[in-house]
Symmetry: D2
Subunit: 392 residues, 4 copies
């Protein structure tokens, strides 16, 4: 096991995936760096040792800790006296499970990109592996890291909106409006490939974010859904648009729309929640604002670290209101929350109060959501029970 006796300030981090040409690996690295809680020391950045070493050199990682294989990396790092304590898994979806398993079984904390896995069966196995491990499992549903999202969640939990009636959530993009995967674009390639992405296209890539965010903020539990998925672009193998109706166990209702073929939308993740006493409206592209709409009063524009900021938002906020924080800071908040939990774990302490991040249950729920949507749609848009998927 890793020697943690000297309690360094920073957490020793490794990475699986994230070599040259990858997108999300770089995001994870910046996120890990912003609050200076991690030190990147090892990586299986690519599928060959040579490519992995080249990326390591770019990143200031020692050559002898650049691996061509995540299994080898897990094995060796676990044996090193100051091997990594945590690993970020940033590969295409189908590798999340086999990679995570290797680290979990060696007690190395896993910070994994979403969706959890490419199949529901893998998700269930990974859940078991995580539960069996003493290590932490962190899923980077990064939008939950935004301060105004934290504040929204806190306001709802405290009853400020009253009983929740409605959840309207959407995540619209336009980058797959044409057949980009045929051009050889790498991101489009794997994200539209069932073998690497899984059953869901837009549902898996962004629908899971929308679903997770709605669940995180509202605290509601999905009971049933009805989905109508499409692949509008000719030749596309996975859905590029999803229309979903949701029924929550509390009686609340919801709509979810995810699309990668809506021109003019870059990353238009929007969440609106309405209760008996008021509503909240938030948009990812303008994340420092949160509309609060108390029934019978004018709308109030809450701002990050602004006049009505709450504890939950302030603790994941760095700079004064009016100085926008963005996507990378929100992502960093997941990393820094995880760091708090890892440090507590090092010291045998419980997770500090207020520390929140998505975990393995959220991961399973996300894959269950995609699978239920695909099933419902295949059955002509029939209603399906979410509990049949989100179990095990």
């Amino acid at each position: 096991m890793n020697d943690l006796s000297n309690q360094p300030r920073r957490i020793r981090l490794g990475m699986v995936g994230g070599g040259r040409d990858a997108f999300i690996g770089g995001v994870h690295r910046i996120a890990a760096r912003i609050d200076d809680r991690y030190e990147l020391l090892a990586g299986a950045f690519s599928s060959t040792p040579e490519k992995s070493k080249a990326s390591a050199a770019d990143l200031g990682v020692a050559a002898d800790r650049a691996y061509g294989d995540y299994a080898e990396m897990a094995k060796r790092e676990a044996r090193l006296k100051t091997g990594i304590e945590a690993v970020a898994i940033v590969t295409p979806n189908h590798l999340h499970y086999p990679a995570a398993r290797e680290f979990l079984k060696r007690g190395i904390h896993v910070i994994c990109d979403k969706p959890l896995t490419s199949t529901l069966s893998d998700a269930r196995k990974l859940k078991k592996a995580a539960e069996a491990s003493g290590a932490l499992f962190v899923l980077t549903h990064n939008y939950t890291g935004y301060p105004m999202i934290r504040q929204a969640r806190e306001m709802i939990a405290s009853g400020e909106l009253g009983r929740i009636r409605l959840v309207q959530v959407e995540y619209a993009q336009d980058w797959l409006s044409e057949n980009l995967e045929e051009t050889g674009q790498k991101q489009a390639g794997w994200r539209t490939d069932p073998a690497r992405s899984g059953l869901g296209g837009s549902t898996g890539d962004i629908g899971t974010h929308a679903f997770n965010l709605a669940s995180f903020v509202s605290g509601l539990e999905l009971a049933e859904l009805c989905a109508d998925l499409d692949s509008f672009v000719e030749g596309r193998q996975l859905d590029d648009n999803g229309h979903v109706l949701m029924r929550f166990s509390s009686g609340a209702k919801g709509m979810l729309w995810c699309s990668q073929v809506a021109p003019g939308n870059e990353n238009a993740l929007k969440l609106r929640i309405y209760g008996e006493k008021g509503g909240l409206e938030w948009a990812q592209e303008d994340p420092n604002y949160l509309w609060h709409t108390p029934l019978g009063q004018p709308k109030r524009l809450l701002t990050r670290n602004g006049a009505a900021a709450t504890a939950a938002g302030r603790r994941v906020s760095r700079i004064p209101g009016g100085h926008p924080e963005g996507y990378l800071e929100g992502f960093a908040n997941i990393y820094s929350e995880a760091a708090e939990a890892i440090i507590a774990h090092r010291n045998g302490n419980p997770r500090p109060e207020g520390v929140v991040f998505p975990g393995i249950e959220d991961g399973l729920a996300g894959v269950a959501f995609v699978t239920a949507c695909v099933d419902s749609s295949k059955r002509g848009g029939a209603w399906v029970k979410f509990g049949n998927y989100n179990k095990g």
Copy 2:
């Protein structure tokens, strides 16, 4: 029959409903006045002759043309030498059919508020009555009168967005978030009463507007829908929220949300349409703007009578860009379009090119939409074929 030989500039108008305390009657009167194409000369403003005469006096209508009964009014006005040529029907929904019938059979043009009727059976009968009459039938789906909506429709018809894939439409309000009908508020009273409104609550009152607007702009034909309706407020008899998935005959898909329990929303009717080559986004509360989002280019903010205004928008626009026109001007456009058609009809001419307003088919479609939504929802959110309702 009315004597039209002297061809006056203005159309002789009567009104059924719209007495003191009514809301929409006043809107119709302003709409009729803005472009000076109508003269209000008669009315059955209320259900008793006394009240009707009181309203007539308020409105400058001669006492001998204030009626306590629409049937009497229709009969007598038809016999007058300069009786009314057109009648505006602005009563609660259940009276639209019986009132309209009386005027249509006497060749008096009908300008009727929406939804067309309170039942599908009445809607079908009214459609027959309108077809049998030589008179025109105009349905005040007033949002179709907004200049930017006209421009949107023209852009789609001309192929500027390419083949349409998606229609996202919503109409959210908050005024019925609590049990207002129990307080005796008149508008809430009839709009939540099945006997006067019909089967649909929010679906009938505002869902029909959303559906009509989406159809008007997109030109798409609804094939199937699946609806999940709720009455969130305890004791409410009709739906106050509707979630609807739509499949169009072209293969396009859509979502429609209507709600009267979404705090912070006054009259938030929003339409977004996406095609292969671009998208359009419009919001009723900011009606002088239309976002055009050509794929692969920056978003363009089109304005009423602005730099990229088209013929269809310009012809229903009065003042320069940057000087906002609003709801009343949009409503007036329906009246003024109708006036063009009525004048042409007087003269035995065909309807002038470019003159557009919602008619009896739109009315039947709207009632069919509500009925199909209610049916679908009762059947657990099953998909239903729209053609089974929208016929006859």
Copy 3:
């Protein structure tokens, strides 16, 4: 004198100017019609009897009340038993004074477009004429008619913002970014012509609106100003951009910007006022909103007839919140306020409480403002005392 014994509902109105090709005349007519308080019965619409009669026919005005000359019109209408009670003067600026004088001296109320006159000397003479007349004088600084502007004024007057410190006002357009006057465009022609417009270009045409609005809402009195005016377009005779610093007698300070050469601005009149306890922000192109920014609290978005609407806004508002009213309704409010005052005058009653419209003093102040700006600018941007201009 006019016979008012029968107290008709509507006010008998005449018009000077506003023939074919004019812009603002049509606006005045719609404004007069919206609330049905006026009846247009006479006009000197153009400078020849033939053209005037042609316009009269368009407008449904009897041929024998179409005049080629405002003096003739004033004389004859004053003698008619049911001659006009009020006249709208909608000519280029240099004719305001001579036309208004003819009606005022015959006791006919004057509703006059702004700026009051083309010279300060005319403004002073007109002020004397108005004071000497028993008739009312109404200046159509129409932006003061917007409901949210009324609410803003009321909030400031009631002390809700505390002592006012800052006034930031601007009115930006782009329609004169090129030398449009050389193309023969009629509006550009007279508005850039010193002989017809007066000393000020953008300052006179829109700067006066900005200044009037700031004064109306803030209640502050201008003490000194410093102006830097430019004619950016080659060959232009009047200013097309003005930068003005203002010092108010209370110690508050302000900035005013008017421009007709700012691309992308249609009619971007914006007002921001900040006091010790809060601020207000309003934009003419989105007139149904008013931002209220109480110090130390989140911003509140007030809406017309919305949750926090006040009496002053509600009384000049027609339809529910979320159904936008626009420029024409704001303009109509000036007409309808004037109608209240005229009816009271008919009956020998004092002006009803709450009835507000810009009058002759505002007109003189506007022309004084333009003259002071031009003087300051000519003197190299020196500070000038406003009281030296705004007197007499």
Copy 4:
């Protein structure tokens, strides 16, 4: 001298100021970390060795490189084999000059917060010191680091707006609306204290940012200004509001407003520039957007890394459009640009093409701007020549 023979990836950085309770020091550290181009190795974080060591411990800086004095730090670090190559100076303004001087004369690059100094005389001396030094001088006018600001600058330089006519710039805050300095708040304390801030309050703290940004983007050279400054809050020693008119040497005109007493404004830095052929509008609180308003065409909303992104914006942008970058990333861009220049300097190469950051001239210009404003205002708002200040 420092040994650079081994060419490490990261630049060895020290810091003066930025101890516990400071605000801007933490911002500099995150900015330095985001792109992993710096390593913080030494610091005189506070004015006593004990406090400095405490901060060093927080920051992972070795105790033997925590200094109580910047002069001692400069001396010792210059002698170390791997002493710092660059120093960030993040103290109150009056210490910028004496601290920077110590490092510059030892060839250590200086990254200095703004404004350059607290007096014009210091600014001139520092300019000489920087010119005499072989080291680089970087001023963190961080707003110039925003990608859309880079794109705006590039568009103007390339002539896309034509000849520039107007610059409207403002920076409004509200945090000093009351007498916060009397409460002992540390930031308010030094920023309103002439001894530590210099002559300017809002002008120095934020007016310099506005002026620098306008100059950076427009490329215009200020010729004359006229300023009216106020201290609205009783007892305040420095200005808390500034109104400034500007004349540029090209004939363009401008307005600048800075305020710390405008309720509802957090960090509302806004820039609008209009030329003969179009305009640009940008707001710091929504920095990923840039409005482009080509004359005679609809407004275009440009986004960071979006459809119309240019080279200048793309090179300082990390993640896809629609994923907002914020203040910290903009600040990081200054650091990373500086890193490019420092690495080139290490290698004896010229500064790479496209690398841009504010330098010593911008610093002098900023202090000259403040001094000219204060002078103008003291002289009753007289026009003063900028060249009389911005020299030496």
